[in-house]
């Protein structure tokens, strides 16, 4: 089984510890993981803002970087959803614009191999107990693209429930968007901030020490809102909790 | 301007818009999977009637049961409870359903909306009743009359013959109905959710809906109520208690 990590551009530049956590976690589970260095960004910010044509080179780059791997593991629900849902759409549109079926074929070549981290753990490796230790109270915010586009369902929660020492706190309005939405956060900053403030308030109300998601971009918005409000709740990616052990705690 | 306006313009635009649809594709070739349920659960006729009663009551209709022989007495009781002195009926409702001493108006085309507005109650039959949704359908047959008679008076008594007029589901009801006939589907009395999305019963249509389920095996003289809300029916004051058993 050849496994590659698609770390995503946000994690690469801003949250390297999340990528490091995925590597540590997978290696602990006996999976040898590779990091093809030609990878970069899935193209989601450009695509979701309407710059589909400008996104196309990144589809080719993604496919080329991960050629030959059986599984591409992505510690981001929205980036995984970008590949799985939007690459095929881009291919179909390129074909409809009379530019042939190459992009569609390229997209199809990566869709079935791309897994969000919790999908890879639960569906491919078949584990829900990864031997993690995190003696803290945690609340979980299911990010929209993981929840609705990928249908991650109970996977993240099951993984969290098996973490030793972890106490999960229910989050009110958990399935409501945090207000990030990529360029939405700046194009409609007022509404985005209002959504973020409500999310932050619900997180505070849980009394949890940490808030956890499968997406650092949403967490950047949630965390930025929390710290601006003087909150002490710690934003943490699910991978970092799962990588945490008694020997090497987070 | 011609009566048809921009008929050709609109149709031509629609046809151009559908340039991607193969010319030889027929509408029925576009897949429609009807793998939804015809009925949500299996029920005996008795269970079906019970469900109908429950769902009618959920939306504040008052539900009563009686035998065919007891029907006139039941109707009389409901009119008395309501305090109605006048009642309108479509031509197909038997005279016997309306008690003596009541001003009984037979609907006709000559009856104006204003005249209807002065009448207290209306008594009709129905075409079909839907248990799963608590719906009565009127299709302007002889015992249901013109649509306006069940609209303008503030009190509607609707008689349902059980089990033959009760179906389980919306799909079954549509099968029984003729689209050429004007229909009114009624699920509880008039209501609105327009104030803070809270449901309030009673706006323009009849504010009180009594449904009488007529069953052969109901006790000969019994009239029972399912709805807890029946007691607060308007007009009860000063007009005596409803007949109970």
């Amino acid at each position: 089984m050849r496994v590659a990590l698609f770390v995503t551009c946000v994690n690469d530049a801003l949250y390297p510890r999340t990528g490091q956590a995925v590597v540590a976690l997978l290696e602990r589970l006996g999976v040898e993981v590779d990091f093809p260095e030609t990878q970069s960004c899935c193209g989601q910010p450009q695509f979701n803002t309407g710059y589909r044509h400008a996104t196309e080179p990144l589809v080719h780059r993604y496919a080329a970087a991960f050629e030959g791997y059986d599984h591409i593991v992505v510690p981001s629900g929205s980036c995984a959803a970008m590949v799985r849902e939007n690459y095929p759409r881009m291919g179909a549109k390129a074909a409809a614009e009379g530019r042939g079926g190459v992009l569609a074929a390229v997209a199809e070549s990566v869709v079935p191999r791309t897994y969000e981290l919790t999908e890879f753990l639960v569906d491919v490796l078949g584990v829900t107990d990864v031997g993690a230790y995190y003696p803290h109270t945690v609340t979980y915010h299911p990010t929209c693209h993981g929840l609705r586009m990928l249908g991650l369902g109970e996977r993240p929660r099951k993984l969290l429930e098996h973490v030793e020492g972890l106490e999960l706190r229910e989050l009110e309005g958990a399935e409501e968007c945090c207000g990030f939405g990529g360029t939405f956060a700046v194009k409609n900053a007022a509404v985005s901030s209002a959504m973020g403030a409500d999310k932050a308030r619900h997180i505070e109300e849980t009394g949890a020490e940490s808030v956890c998601t499968v997406d650092n971009s949403c967490l950047m918005h949630i965390g930025g809102t929390l710290t601006r409000a003087g909150s002490r709740v710690r934003p943490v990616h699910l991978a970092e909790i799962l990588a945490s052990t008694k020997e090497a705690p987070l | 301007m011609s009566g048809s306006g921009s008929r050709e313009t609109v149709l031509a635009r629609v046809r151009r818009a559908l340039a991607d649809v193969p010319r030889d594709e027929r509408p029925e070739q576009v897949k429609v999977a009807r793998d939804y349920l015809r009925v949500h659960g299996e029920r005996t006729p008795r269970e079906r009637a019970q469900l109908l009663a429950e769902h009618l009551a959920d939306y504040r209709a008052h539900v009563h049961h009686c035998s065919p022989a007891a029907l006139p007495r039941t109707v009389a009781g409901l009119l008395a409870l309501r305090g109605s002195r006048s009642v309108v009926t479509p031509p197909g409702v038997p005279d016997a359903w309306v008690p003596e001493g009541m001003r009984h108006v037979r609907d006709s085309a000559a009856l104006s909306p204003r005249e209807l507005d002065a009448i207290g109650s209306v008594v009709t039959g129905c075409a079909v009743a839907v248990a799963e949704t608590g719906t009565l359908v009127l299709d302007a047959s002889e015992d249901q009359g013109r649509r306006r008679v069940t609209l303008v008076p503030d009190h509607h008594i609707c008689v349902v013959r059980v089990p033959e007029q009760v179906v389980d589901s919306v799909p079954q009801a549509l099968e029984r109905l003729d689209p050429a006939r004007p229909q009114t589907w009624i699920s509880g009395p008039s209501a609105t959710s327009d104030i803070e999305l809270n449901r309030v019963e009673g706006v323009h249509g009849p504010r009180t809906l009594d449904v009488v389920l007529v069953t052969d095996d109901a006790a000969e003289t019994e009239s029972t109520e399912d709805s807890e809300g029946a007691e607060d029916s308007e007009g009860a004051a000063g007009n005596g208690a409803p007949p109970r058993g």
Binding site: E37, T49, N188, A190 | S6, H40
Partner: protein
């Protein structure tokens, strides 16, 4: 004529104001959360909801793919049943037809059932200009009309008003239009409803002309269907002598049987009821029962343009249930007025710009009025993938392309005001397509990380006004990987690549030029795959 109201600012500006309106936020939050939970319960009651939803989408798709056929069939059936069918290419023509028809009756007043189509075309205003008074009879529409206000919700147009505000409007304004509000009117919803009943009763009993829309039109039988709650619809549909129904061409369904799907989907999605209190169906005219004259005005007004767009087409499946509004976090905070048309919320954000051919600055801002969270798609009873259409319309805004405008295939230029963003997006793609540049950029950011101010200038301010920026780490992931694991490629070739990660040669092609780099054979990566050996 635009579907959007005259002089409306782009969505972000309007929303920036409305989001600060605490009372509006409270009213909307209360109302949408109440109905949200109820809807979930009503839907959960039907174990076959997913199948009904799929069938609803498929029936609509069948209709739309053969819309010309079904419209002609409908026209024939309505005519055979005694009705008269008119066709209106746009709002102006529809208003002209209706005005003429009302004038022919000699009446100066009409009663109206709540109808999205007549709001869309501004019929009330057009009638007013012709000296004809149109009385809205739906309770919420009455509140909006009396308050000289715009609707802010598809189902509950006065959702932005709470009971106290409604009481004030009734007390102050009812008398100007007819019977005044009763003395001592309180804000109890039942009393407010009673006041509306008394106020409108007189109008119903004397009205000679009724104007409606329709929820469905059955092509095979020529039957129209109006789904409602209050009974004002029944009043308008049955008491007047003349009935004029203005209906969008997409409201047709093929068969009577098809209603079995929509009469299950619509009430549960809309008011969270098993069935709405009243549904009226009529086929042409009926002797001595209801109006003697029936006119059906079939309205295009941008629908055929929407139909021509293969991604946008699904928008026309909409049955106006408003479930998407009730779950939308953006709608809940911005309110309906910020959308600037009778169609607020997620469906408005895709429908309005399409009907309008992106005519206004508001139109081009609407596709961005969403975080793409997908809650709307999840609850949509006819499975309109609203996020997909939003992104598709964003392309039309910033990329341009071809679109159909008033029946003409047109090349659309990108909207103005996106030049800086476009340059930034292309620069981003270029950087992401040139790993060496990307790595250099990341390292530069790391070195400068202590210099990042807490509040950014320029466009960054929109972020830092309310949120902290994340700290830039001292080392990117790719630098960490190389430092700890050494450079390597992927699996497959067995040989060690010559630092493929640093190769920029894969990016010789013209990044961001708009043509798909069609060969898909990225030269520089060819030497990459290096197996799993470390």
């Amino acid at each position: 004529m635009s579907v959007t109201y005259l002089g409306m600012p782009p969505f972000p500006q309007a929303a920036e104001v409305s989001v600060r309106d605490e009372r509006l936020r409270r009213n909307l939050r209360h109302a949408t959360h109440t109905i949200r939970d109820k809807r979930a319960g009503a839907v959960a009651e039907l174990v076959d909801w997913a199948a009904l939803r799929a069938a609803g989408a498929q029936i609509k798709d069948r209709t739309l793919r053969h819309l010309d056929h079904y419209l002609e069939q409908l026209e024939g059936a309505v005519t055979a049943a005694g009705g008269t069918v008119h066709w209106a290419a746009d709002a102006r023509e529809a208003n002209e037809i209706v005005t003429r028809l009302v004038r022919e009756t000699g009446e100066r007043e009409v009663v109206k059932v709540k109808s999205m189509a007549t709001q869309e075309i501004g019929l009330n205003e057009a009638l007013e200009r012709a000296g004809i008074a149109a009385y809205e009879t739906d309770l919420a529409e009455l509140i909006v009309q009396l308050g000289d206000d715009h609707p802010s919700h598809i189902l509950v147009p006065a959702i932005h008003r709470n009971r106290g505000e409604i009481r004030e409007i009734f007390r102050e304004r009812m008398g100007r239009w007819g019977r005044p509000a009763p003395d001592g009117l309180t804000d109890a919803p039942a009393e407010l409803a009673e006041a509306a009943r008394l106020h409108l009763r007189e109008k119903f009993l004397t009205a000679k002309v009724g104007i409606s829309g329709a929820n469905f039109m059955v092509a095979e039988s020529g039957t129209l269907v109006v789904v409602e709650s209050e009974g004002n619809g029944r009043m308008c549909l049955t008491l007047p002598e003349t009935l004029i129904s203005v209906v969008g061409i997409e409201k047709v369904v093929p068969t009577w049987q098809d209603l079995e799907v929509f009469l299950q989907l619509l009430p549960r999605s809309s008011t969270a009821e098993r069935m709405n209190p009243y549904t009226s169906t009529w086929t042409g005219t009926t002797e001595e029962d209801g109006p003697r004259t029936f006119h059906l005005v079939l309205l295009d007004n941008g629908r055929s343009d929407t139909l021509a767009d293969r991604v946008g087409r699904q928008t026309l499946r909409c049955i106006r249930c408003s479930a998407c509004l009730n779950v939308c976090p953006v709608y809940e905070r911005a309110g309906g007025h910020a959308y600037g048309s009778p169609y607020p919320g997620p469906i408005g954000a895709i429908l309005t710009p399409q009907l309008d051919s992106m005519d206004t600055g508001l139109d081009t801002s609407l596709p961005y009025a969403s975080s793409l969270c997908g809650a709307c798609f999840e609850v949509c009873p006819v499975a309109i993938d609203i996020p997909e259409v939003l992104v598709h319309l964003r392309e039309r805004v910033v990329q341009g392309g071809t679109a159909t405008v008033r029946g003409q295939r047109t090349t659309v230029k990108p909207a103005k005001g996106h030049a800086a963003e476009r340059a930034a997006m292309r620069a981003a793609t270029w950087a992401f397509d040139h790993p060496r540049a990307l790595r250099a950029g990341e390292r530069l950011a790391s070195r400068a990380r202590r210099l990042v101010p807490r509040r950014l200038p320029g466009p960054g301010r929109a972020w830092t006004d309310t949120r902290d920026v994340p700290a830039v780490p001292p080392e990117s992931f790719r630098d960490w990987w190389r430092r700890t694991r050494g450079p390597q490629g992927g699996p497959g070739s067995g040989g060690r690549g010559a630092r493929p990660g640093d190769s920029d040669s894969d990016s010789d092609r013209n990044s961001g030029s708009g043509d798909s780099s069609a060969n898909g054979n990225d030269k520089g990566d060819g030497d990459g795959p290096a197996g799993m050996v470390r």
